[in-house]
Structures are given as structure tokens and as C-alpha cells.
Amino acid sequence: MSLAKPDALDITTKQKVALAIGVIGLFIFTLALFNTNFPNKGLFLTLSLGSIIGGIIIYSREAYLTKLEGIKNDGVWFKSISSRGILGWILGVILTSFYIVLYFFPKYLGLGTDGEANTGLISLFDPLSHLLSGRDASQWFVYGTLYTVAILAFGYKFILKYRHNRYQQLRTVSVMFFQLGFAFLIPEFMYVMNNDLPYYDLKSIWPLNYYIFDEWSVNGFLSNGNIGIALLLFGIISIFVITPILTYKYGKRWYCSWVCGCGGLAETAGDSFRQLSSKKMSAWKLERWLIHTVLVFSIVMTVAMIYTYLGYDKNDFWLTRDVFIVSVIGFLTLVFATVMIFKRHELGKDAKYGAIGYFIVIILLLVMHFTGTTDHLFYIKAGALRSAYGIYIGSIFSGVIGTGFYPILGNRSWCRFGCPMAAILGFQQRLFSKFRITTNGGQCISCGNCSNSCEMGIDVRAYAQKGENIVRSSCVGCGVCSAVCPRGVLKLENDSMEGRINPTEILLGNDVDLMDFVNQK
């Protein structure tokens, strides 16, 4: 409607100062990137990180603490950065380029190769890395540090933005804690204690953590005695025991918006972009195909990878190729049969797609088993699948597109279209979970605030205006739809499975006889 940005939404002087402070921090990074050799790297690193964090803190305090508590979305669709304007595109290009360099050309960031010392940006982070683990920084250490700083600083901003909403505050504190502790500090300390252990972020669960069953990783665990075996077991228990129980009780939100690092970044640094996710029916269709394809890919890839190295040392271990393939197929069949027996009516025509997916996986596994040799699976070199997955899904999809495109596609495009972990949790959330978003009778006014703020692109309003609870596999339970609802219509709840899905034709508040007449049909 209005092309001109309303001037009234300009930021205050104090916010301009805060922005300047933050930019100075980024500028130090830029200088380092261009190989400025700072005399005292520790000082300059502290200075740059400090001014970035300080800038964000000052900016946020001015933005939210000067106003009364409440929903703070004024001008979201006017600001260039959060409405796919020029600033949004510029930021998108910068982030995307950063990811490409990070994943594929770390030497441009100054990574020392062949034992040489780091230079450039990575060397700027050496002092912190030495402090934590005594080794030189890597591109992953730089990335991890920046990632953690982003979650902490923007997490603080988010907490101020929702200072009237304790659900939002608690889950933000939770992702800040898990990022700082589990993803950043603990792995560093684990390295100090035992430097043979592979990097392991305890909260990162297969298949999101697709390298946990890589040969180097498993060997790393196995060769480190009890602690290694305990960690590997924890990884397996996370998948098969902890995850199903927590998802049954609380929905997938316990992971996606309380623990997960990808989710943590999306909810904090990515919060300003949540409204950009597409709510079109066509986007939903694409989402369902894409995310389940990735899931199939990740399962087949992981099985193939384990299968490969199980073939290397014959018969000296109870887990042989045959035992492995039979147990995988058995497990998948068990899951499939359970769903088909107990939940077939809920799935409707989706049951057909589920069946197709299941049979594709089984056929692929059988083909692999019967055509595979020691070095070749699917007639390609063993390990090729794994590297293809690592490049296309692990790097390009989750990093370059998933995060780089925040300002274009919204903050959860990886979680929505690509994350295989989200697909598994979502599958369970849809079928075996107590979680739902309850709709409050007939109170919806179809305003669209809920849909607009759904980062997963769920058309929340489509359910709310029908008085129907929202039970969607993609919902990460961030609770922002409930927060922004002006009429108190939505509530995230864990309640009994009975009556969780409640489609109605006529809403509460109308003639009781009419409701009975129409809704029972």
C-alpha cells in the first residue's frame, strides 16, 4: 500500500549509536579478514565481540524497554531488512557468501593448511581457542563462536521483546543455555580432557547430526574406553528412547524450540524474519515432498555408510552386514506396521504416500544389500553417498540456504523443508503426541496475525477460524502465534490424545441444536 517507509518508524539516536558500535565490531572482523595483523589479537577479538554484543544490547533496550509491555511488531513489514527490501537482500547475500566460503573455501578466512599458522579472521580467534582448549582456532571454531554470540545477544533481545511472556522467555533462556553449554563449551572441555574424542554436541541427535555414525566418529568413540562407549550409547538412546518419550509428552517443541541449535539461531537472530515464510498451499506441498525426500536420503545414506565399514572387518564383531540390514528393515517395518494398524484412519490419503516412502526405503536397502560389494554400493564408490549428503544437505541446504536465506525465505526454511530430524519428530507429533495448539471456541476474528508470524509457514488461521485445534507435524511450538493473537484464541497445550483433532463445521457460540445437527454429520 504505502511505498514510502513511514518516517515515524525511524530509529532513535541512541539506537543509531548502538548500531555504530556493532558495526565497528564487524569492521574489526573485516580488517582481520583482509589480513590485518593486529598486534594484540586477544584485545581486538574482545573489542570486536564486545562491541557487537554491546551494540545489540543497547539497541534492544532502547527498542523495548522504553515502551510498555506488549506485542512489538510495529513496522515489521515496512522495514527494509525484514520485508525483503534492499537491506534484506544485501544481508542475504552477505550471509550466503559467508556460508559458501566457510564450507568450501575456509582458506579465504585464513585457515592455516598443512600445519601452517592461521592468518586472517581465523587467527583473530586463536587466543579464545587457546584459552578454551589450547589449540589453534579452526573455521568451525570461528563459526561456533559467532553462532553462540548471535544466539546469546539476539536471545537477550528476544527476551526483552517478549518480557510479558514467560513461555517465550524460558524457551529462549533454554536455547541460549544449550548453545553456550552443549554446543560450544562442553565439546571444547571434552577435548581438553580427552583429545581423541570426536567433536560431540550431546544435544545434536541423528539424523540432524548425520556424522555421528561416520566411521571416524564411531571409531573415535570405541577407541576411547568407557566414556566413548557411553557417549555413543547416549547418541543411540537419544534417538530411540529419549526423543520418542519427550515428543509424546510435549510435542517436537521440546527439541526444535527449546534445545536445538538450528532452532535456537532461528528463534533469536532469525526472529525478525519469521513473517517471511510462505503460507501458500503450494509451499506446504513442496515442504512435504522435500523434507521427506531428505529423510529417506538421510536414512539410506546412514545405513549405507555403516554398512560399508561393517564390511571391512569380517566376523570379528557380532554386528555383521546381514544382522544390521535385517534389523534396520525389521525396525522400519515395525514402525510402518504400527502406524498403519493404529493410525491409518487419521492419515487418510497420506497413508498412501507413507507406504510409498516405506517401500522405496526397503527396496533401496535390498538393492544395496544384494548388489553391493566391499567398495561399491549402488554401483558407486562407497562413501560417495555420504559425501553427497554432506555437501548438498549438510552444507548447502542447512547452511547456505537455510541460514543464508533468512532474510528472503524466513528463518526456518531448513527446519521446514530440509531437516530430517524435524521430519521424524513431526511424524511422531502428528500421530503420537499429547501436544496441540488449542483453539478457543468461536473467538477467532481471522485477522491473520498468527499465520503471519508462523515461521514454519503454517496457515494457523485456517484452523483457528474453524475452531479446530492445530495438530501439524511441522509445528515447532514456538508459541508466537499464541502470543500475537489479539483475542486470546490460541494456547499450546499437552493434554490427552482423545479429541485432539477436532474439525468442526460450526463454531461454539451458535445455536446448540444447529451445532449438534451439523457437526455430527
Binding site: 510498555l68 486470546g488 499450546l492 497445550e493 445455536d511
Partner: protein, 434 residues
């Protein structure tokens, strides 16, 4: 095939069309002069505030209508010829109908104030009003002050909108406390304070005398009736309620009062012509309801009901327990059952009122002083479950039961502070002092 023509693409007409489509194969046409597609009128404010864009206020994607064979026609009906069942459009063309539904909604009230049609005056009802506001009040430099006349739900929304762009607002309210024709005193006064906390210049017991024009026919200032004070401003929002939008029906033979007169079956005096939503006026009010209910929910319910009648299952409009909601700046409000303000309160109705010390949360429970029967609740800043109160009203629970079971009705997000204990304590204390 029978042709169902609906004038108005608001919540009433669109709900009707959707339900008729579900129940039948009839040809359906929806006419609107305002917009191409259905949008949520209640969300207009969020477009100006930048929370959403216009397309986000459309509950259905644009392909929805064709897919469901609901024809959309853009145009203003200028005349209804009931003998030949023909609609005449301002644009010159005509359309035949078999059954006609008038769902044209409301238009803002104007009470003959001098200068009420100057450039820079506007209501806040139609999409065109929003476009006007964007033109006259894009920012605080173009619009140095806005004056809002009329302290109802639309008035306070307009104040919030302008406030979001830092445009100074003077809010003229005829009553001596905000919306106290509807809200009991304690609540109304809490909202007064909340409005002032947002730096909105709230003037109670204040009326508009006239709007002055500059040399170009634009709003320059307003004159206050009581004091004669002149307030300079660039925009005047006229939000003193709404009235049915039915001028085009004069001389059509359709019986008209303030709105289109309908019986309990939402039928007008002319066969095959019906009216629903804001523009329909019941011959006799239903229960405590007003003859004209200009509320989103009632429009939707009338649409749901009339669809049955149109499709051969003739049933009366018999709404269930009253409910409504609104948001006053940052404070959400819901109501279930009937809670009357001081004015118009039945003799047997008395209130229990509790307010949180932070002055943003309160509840008022109305009950019958003779029987203690629960009559209704207003809740501010605390969300309550519709389903639970609907049930309690049906079961005719008493005040004691309701107060003691309030936790069941709580609908606030998880981890929110709960106030049921405080409420119970206040209730018990009050009983002791009485």
C-alpha cells in the same frame, strides 16, 4: 440452477457462501465494491501498523473462490428491483438472482458535525478508510496531530494505529469514562489509565463542536464543544459507532428500519430476500442482544444459520450464549455471558470485581443477587476458555462454583503467573466484609 447472490464480501456473506457451497451445488455470486477478495476487516489496523500486509488479512488464497465455484463480482449495487429479481449496478450493468442476501455491513456514523466531510476526516471501517489514513497520516511530519471522536472499539484501535507511527493523538470521548456504556466502572477506569500510559491525550466528557478547514478544504483544527478550545490537527477520525450500510435499498420495497428488517429466520418482508450481519435488524431483539448486532461473531453465526435455510433446512437464528472480545492497546478483553455497565444494568445483577495491582489485569463476574446464579464474566489481561464458560452458563452454575473452578477456565500461555488464588482470596475477604 438456482442463483444465490450475496451483496457484501464480509464475514457474514462469505461464511454463508462457503456453507451453501458445502451443502449444495447452487450457483453462488458474491458482490463487493470494496475489494476483489474477502479480507478480515478487524485486521485493517495491523496493515497501517506494519504488522501485516493487506494480502495477509485475506483468509483464503485467491484461487480458493474459483476452485469452490464461488463467483466474485466487483461493483456497487445501486438499485434492487424485487419484482424482476434484478440488481442494477452503479457501473450500469445488471444481474439476475433467484435468492438475494443483503450482507453489506456498516458505515461509520456521522452526526452532522460542521466540517465532517472535509479532506482529512475519515472513519475506520472500509479498506478505503485505511487508504485515506495512509494518505493523510503517513507519519508525524505530515500529520502533526490527529483527533479521534468517539470512544468505542474502533476509536481506540485508531488511536493505537496512529500511536504506532508516533503521531500525537487527542481522543475525545463523550462519556465520563472510556466505553462505560458497556464496561463496568472498574474496568473502564483501568482502560482510561492504560490509554494515558500510552501518551494518548484522552479527553473524557468531551464532545466535538466543529471541524475547521484550511484554505484548501483540508482539516485544520477542531473546536471542543464544552470549552470552545481549538485544537490544531491534520486528521480527524470519526469513530462514534457504525450504522447499517443500506442506503441503496431505499425505494426497493424491502422493509427498512435502522437496518434491513428481518424475522428470526433472517428473512425480509420480500420472499427470497434475506439479510445477515451488521446490516440486519431483528424485529425484536433476541434476549439481551441488540436488534442490530454489529459484531464479527454474530455475522458469522448468521451466515452459518442462513445457509441451512437457503439449502432447504429452514431454521431460525438462535444464537447461543453471548461472547465477544477486543483488545485495548496492550490489554486483551474477553467476555462470556452478560455483564452490564452501570447504565442499563438489571436490578438483580450484582458484580464481583478483582483487579491486579499492576493495573493491567482484572475480572468482573456478574451474578444474580437473589439466586447467586452466574450471569457472565469480563476478563482483562487474562485469557479464559470459551468452552468452559459456555458450559457453565448452560449448567447455570452459581458464583461460588465459578470462582472455585476458575483454574479450569484459564487459557493463558504456559508458565504464566496464575491469579486464581488471589481472586479466591479477594472473594472470600469480600464475603466476610459484606
Amino acid at each position: 440452477m438456482e442463483h444465490i447472490v450475496i451483496i457484501g464480501n464480509g464475514i457474514s456473506g462469505v461464511t454463508l457462501a462457503r456453507h451453501v457451497r458445502k451443502l449444495s451445488d447452487k450457483r453462488i455470486t458474491i458482490i463487493s465494491g470494496e475489494t476483489d477478495f474477502f479480507f478480515s476487516r478487524t485486521a485493517l489496523m495491523y496493515i497501517y501498523m506494519g504488522h501485516m500486509k493487506f494480502e495477509h488479512t485475506q483468509p483464503y488464497e485467491n484461487w480458493f473462490w474459483e476452485k469452490n465455484r464461488i463467483e466474485l463480482k466487483k461493483g456497487f449495487v445501486s438499485k434492487v428491483e424485487t419484482e424482476t429479481k434484478t440488481l442494477h449496478f452503479k457501473e450500469g450493468d445488471t444481474l439476475q438472482y433467484d435468492k438475494l442476501i443483503i450482507a453489506t455491513g456498516s458505515k461509520p456514523n456521522k452526526f452532522g458535525w460542521p466540517g465532517q466531510d472535509l479532506e482529512g476526516t475519515l472513519g475506520m471501517y472500509h479498506k478505503q478508510d485505511l487508504e485515506k489514513l495512509e494518505k493523510y497520516a503517513p507519519n508525524k511530519d505530515v500529520c502533526k496531530r490527529a483527533v479521534i471522536v468517539g470512544g468505542g472499539l474502533i476509536g481506540i484501535e485508531l488511536a493505537e494505529m496512529l500511536n504506532s507511527r508516533s503521531i500525537p493523538v487527542t481522543f475525545l470521548v463523550r462519556e465520563d469514562s472510556f466505553w462505560n456504556g458497556v464496561l463496568p466502572q472498574g474496568e473502564s477506569e483501568m482502560i482510561n489509565r492504560h490509554i494515558k500510559n500510552h501518551h494518548i491525550d484522552l479527553r473524557l466528557s468531551t464532545n466535538l463542536r466543529a471541524i475547521n478547514s484550511d484554505e484548501n478544504g483540508k482539516v485544520k483544527s477542531v473546536i471542543i464543544e464544552e470549552t470552545g478550545e481549538e485544537l490544531e490537527c491534520n486528521v480527524v477520525g470519526l469513530t462514534a459507532g457504525v450504522a447499517p450500510n443500506i442506503d441503496f435499498l431505499k425505494d426497493s420495497g424491502i422493509e427498512i428500519g435502522r437496518g434491513v428488517k428481518v424475522n428470526r429466520f433472517l428473512e425480509t418482508n420480500i420472499p427470497d430476500i434475506y439479510s445477515i450481519g451488521d446490516c440486519a435488524e431483528q424485529h425484536e431483539a433476541i434476549g439481551n442482544r441488540r436488534p442490530i448486532e454489529a459484531v464479527w461473531y454474530t455475522g458469522r453465526m448468521m451466515g452459518e444459520t442462513l445457509a441451512q435455510t437457503i439449502c432447504g433446512n429452514r431454521i431460525a437464528y438462535k444464537p447461543g450464549h453471548w461472547f465477544n472480545s477486543a483488545k485495548f492497546l496492550d490489554i486483551e478483553y474477553q467476555t462470556y455471558g452478560w455483564v452490564f455497565a452501570e447504565r442499563g444494568r438489571p436490578e438483580h445483577e450484582v458484580h464481583f470485581h478483582w483487579k491486579h495491582e499492576d493495573d493491567t489485569k482484572c475480572i468482573t463476574i456478574a451474578y444474580d443477587k437473589n439466586t447467586n446464579e452466574f450471569l457472565g464474566i469480563n476478563n482483562f489481561g487474562i485469557r479464559m476458555r470459551h468452552e468452559v464458560f459456555d458450559r457453565w452458563l448452560t449448567e447455570k452454575r452459581d458464583l461460588d462454583y465459578v470462582i472455585n473452578h476458575l483454574p479450569e477456565a484459564n487459557f493463558d500461555p504456559e508458565f504464566y503467573s496464575k491469579f486464581e488464588k488471589d481472586i479466591l482470596k479477594a472473594y472470600n475477604n469480600q464475603l466476610q466484609t459484606v
